[in-house]
Symmetry: D2
Subunit: 371 residues, 4 copies
């Protein structure tokens, strides 16, 4: 059977790779990875090359991202992707297709599959995270045939939306599979780290920052990043900053980081782009605290027990494990919560988002679809 996996962003590969790995070991499966949108872009680490370097074939590439990163270009590139994915899926004729999460490109992928009446499996439906992502995620749920959800609450929501009990599978999130591996790996060393700026040895204590723009509140993206940088600047530990993701508002955030670092040469700031998911997770387990609004802190962080300061509205409604402290985007609040979390240290493992075997379980579901 042909299984198409539609990869539209760097962040999804951490969820899709454990599934692909489990599919690869099944002789009856012909795996068709379709790499689209920012998964192809240098600026976001060209994750399609990571995919290839892990030994996977890429069945199709669809360049669709418009320059500009505005709300308008989001709409336009969604349309462009939908148009071309139609052609690609019509050529590949998968027996089942898989998409993941809640970005606008994923809705395009879901439409391309659904409009051609090909069975669609959606990972990570039913969650809540605030912002337009919630709407897009639920819209994708409605276009999907089968749902592999991460949490028990997500399972209930997908059931409430679709009314279909037998097509909702509580598999856990496959990113937890990678988190589980990361737990049993060697720490990231200075050599392995790469990046730019002040030298940092990640085996020594450090603060990690990963903050993305909030699409509903794009105009304040720069201010929000500055508040975080100001708070983190007051902590007497080296700071690792990852560049923000590809949403509208990215440019203002990246600029805020560049300006801050240029203006504070005496502070120890180290910037990183394009970490492979596995290395990112290992690094996260080494951080004294992760500050920002990345879903990784909440999802994989729960399993890894990493202390997290979660800023602002980007994850509103997201189910939280005990490791997360929610704060508004203010310098003082961020600073206070980060200090508390550093004090507390690592948390016990939570299986809220999965127990490390989601890839296998999702592969099982996929293979059962046409059986």
């Amino acid at each position: 059977m042909r299984v198409a996996v539609v990869l539209t962003a760097r962040s999804s590969w951490a969820k899709l790779e454990p599934v692909c790995r489990a599919l690869r070991h099944r002789p009856q499966v012909d795996l068709q990875i379709v790499a689209c949108a920012s998964a192809l872009l240098e600026r976001y680490g060209r994750v399609v090359e990571v995919v290839r370097s892990q030994g996977y074939d890429v069945a199709a590439e669809v360049w669709s991202t418009y320059e500009g990163a505005t709300l308008l270009t989001s709409a336009k590139e969604t349309g462009a992707l939908l148009t071309e994915l139609g052609t690609v899926l019509s050529r590949l004729q998968p027996d089942v297709s898989v998409v993941c999460a809640d970005r606008h490109e994923v809705l395009a992928a879901a439409q391309a599959v659904a409009y051609q009446h090909l069975p669609l499996v959606h990972l990570q439906g039913g969650e809540r995270s605030g912002s337009i992502d919630d709407r897009v995620r639920d819209a994708i749920t409605h276009l999907s045939d089968v749902h592999c959800v991460a949490t028990d609450r997500a399972r209930c929501r997908v059931y409430a939306l679709t009314g279909e009990w037998d097509r909702v599978f509580h598999t856990g999130c496959p990113s937890i599979d990678l988190a589980n591996e990361a737990l049993h790996s060697e720490p990231v060393t200075r050599e392995e780290l790469g990046g730019a700026g002040a030298p940092v040895d990640p085996r020594d204590p450090f603060v990690m920052v990963l903050q993305h723009p909030v699409t509903d509140d794009m105009a304040r993206a720069g201010d929000q990043m500055r508040a975080t940088l100001e708070a983190v600047a007051e902590i007497r530990l080296p700071r690792l900053v990852l560049w923000p993701g590809e949403d509208a508002g990215h440019d203002a955030m990246a600029k805020a980081i560049r300006v801050w670092i240029a203006d504070h040469p005496a502070q120890s700031w180290h910037t990183l782009r394009n970490l492979p998911p596995q290395r990112f997770l290992r690094l996260m387990t080494q951080a004294r605290v992760l500050v920002g609004n990345s879903s990784a802190g909440i999802r994989e962080g729960a399993y890894l027990g990493v202390p997290v300061v979660n800023i602002g509205s980007r994850q509103v409604g997201r189910e939280l494990g005990p490791n997360v402290r929610d704060v508004p985007s203010s310098r003082e609040a961020i600073w206070a919560a980060a200090c508390e979390q550093i004090q507390h240290g690592r948390y016990a493992r939570s299986i809220l988002y999965g127990s490390g075997d989601a890839g296998e379980r999702i592969a099982e579901v996929l293979c059962g679809i046409t059986a």
Copy 2:
């Protein structure tokens, strides 16, 4: 305030026109009609010209329909429309936008609006009609901010999906406003009728056929049309056939009609395309029975009390008034139900889908959005 009304198909104008009429009378409203997709096509009656002939300005035209009418072209044209509507909305900058119903082009329109964070009002959410339309309709609901629904059950469903009580308005369907007008109009005469084939005087008894392809079951579109034609051929009344709508499968149905008529020159068949909504409704009230799967039989038919034979799965789950008899797509079943309905005659008025004032009520909702 600027109100954009996105019109993507002939059938939606019957719902949107009463809203536009009510908006036109409000001095504070700048009405921006955006005509897209099949609303521009000759083959589907170029409803955009109807719009203009009723004295409305058209703020933008977006040609987006691909030739082919396959599942693939449905996906592609949805993408093309989304891409260009982004540009159009970015130029028009409406304070609020309105879309209607459940076709794939409407999902594109909803995305274009929602991705630009402009308020979106959806008409006819929460209904059930079977097929992929249900999924698309619910997906649109999730992308919308405000919902004007036709029935009480629809109101409950939208609330269940969105969790927002205050943003769901039970206004009734504006097509009932037109039905109400039709009730008080003169009957359609032979001169007014137009069309091709055997001459028919619509003031005398006749059978009316309006059947669209079922997108889930496209391969059988031709067979389904033939079953209906065979059944209707056995009824000893003149027959008015309307050409089917623009969904995938249209070509097979149109061909079945052409072939049947050419093969049965002795039977009285009259074909019509491109009736203005008002004339269509008046004509419907004159029919002894309406055979097919059009939603008009169910919606406006309930209010008008027209006997309807509803064939197959296209309206599965749709709320039915007493005037509708559901049958599978088989010659015998269609024939038997049509005979019964002719025998029964007109039904009493039902306000299941509205009581004739929806246009005004929706305009009220729209004007309240930014107030």
Copy 3:
């Protein structure tokens, strides 16, 4: 070596097939046929199925035609094709690509190839036929690397435009290869003919009509077709009418034909769509006169010696053999010239457009490109 052949219209297959046939016999060649635009459409005979039925693989299909057939949709579909052909060529990575003739879709194909810096071979450059086609053809010449031209005059023009002598090859037009085959084949019989309308035996004398819209003069498309039909109606021979091609204006012409035939049931009119090129050429040799503005009358007609009445401006500037009589689009002029041509009978063979071996010669050129 990989050779991509981009097929964008029914009419081009007659030129590209002899090339593909010659390439197929060369073991070093991996032939990649890319079928686009109207080559995929039912309405124009879905030539892609002809291609497959002749045993060729189709490497990619790109649906790109917009409904509407207006000047606007011509522009839009050219853009849509260009966008997707980029993706397709990037996947196929041909060593050389071939395009043919002068339609707007071909310019899109040429751009897709040229912008990716892949070598492009153009067939039928340097000709003149009036209208915007001349401009588009010359624009394609400028984007091409190698030119296989049909006539000596075309060779001179391409040289004048490009200044490159060594890259212009006078191979003749491959459609003449098919004409040569047609000369040596059995006549088309009544059984083989197909079509609709009055029965015709093509082994008996008949008049053949093939007239396309002139893109510069679209508004008069219907009138022009009517003038031709009126003239031909006065000739006392059965009439075979082929449906016009896919340019803007098609709809008006098709309608003119349908209306005329419906209004003149007593006259003998037979309509045909979707003839395979070979059968079309055989049929043409059987016609007493070919009336219209098809390039086939001029090109293959010269070799076959078929009497042709060429109407209006569509072929202005085209090199003519002795078999062609040029007339304006007026009933009288068409009628008079048709009568003269019927009187004259078949002409002697002219090799103006080639001598029947162009396919082989073009294949030779192609294989030499990377050698």
Copy 4:
């Protein structure tokens, strides 16, 4: 009369603005500026804001640039632009449209106009500059109706291509109008300069670098930039570097600049992006030598008498005034030529590319088209 001016890149505004200025003063002209592609992008200085700040209305914006800046995305964005420009022109219905120069976006614009049978005026046809630009420029010439050329040789070439003498006007290049103004303006001061890096007073001697990627030779873009930087690093004057333009290969060049400057903190490097054309020209007159491959050095440079070192193949075939020294992309050659040019000092004015009144003359031509 409505005159549409299609602006697709920053560099074209210097040519189109003098035309717009001349049109603005004519009461009968309704000027419709259509801003597309990189003219909208922050990364290239969002020239559309410059347009607005100069008091012009912008009739339409078309975002079309794809992220990636590869050969593939060039093809795709050309298609996207063509598709949407169709819609825009169909709305604006200009009596005549103007496009400028030779980039792939301009060919899209020319197609959009020509396919809708609207008159098209092309500026800067008939020139030679090597690379695929020559092909694209000639292709645009073939799609255009009227040609306003910069040089006498260009006039001859356009005539040779089109065979139309009366439609080719030798107006000069409107960029020379701006150069003429720049000659009579105050020098750029340190305050006005902006930019980043080592402080520079542009009234003191300095070297100016402006080098763009060569689309035919993209793989070596980074190396080429490095050779230039190495050469210029050896000249004992402050260095002003402008960021390269938006062609494929841009990223490698920008990276080479960033890396070089970071690695040589002791050298005086100042970087600039987004200079308004007028300021750019004034600055150029102050440079001791302009090093790179910008057409400005050749065109405006001729009129201004600025010593120019022109590197590599980007301007091959371009007509050169006495002020230009051609060199290959090698450190030694660049260095030697730059030293020579500094020694020589300013050249006498050449009117090779115009005498400063092209804007008016082109406006005259435009207004005569429908008169």
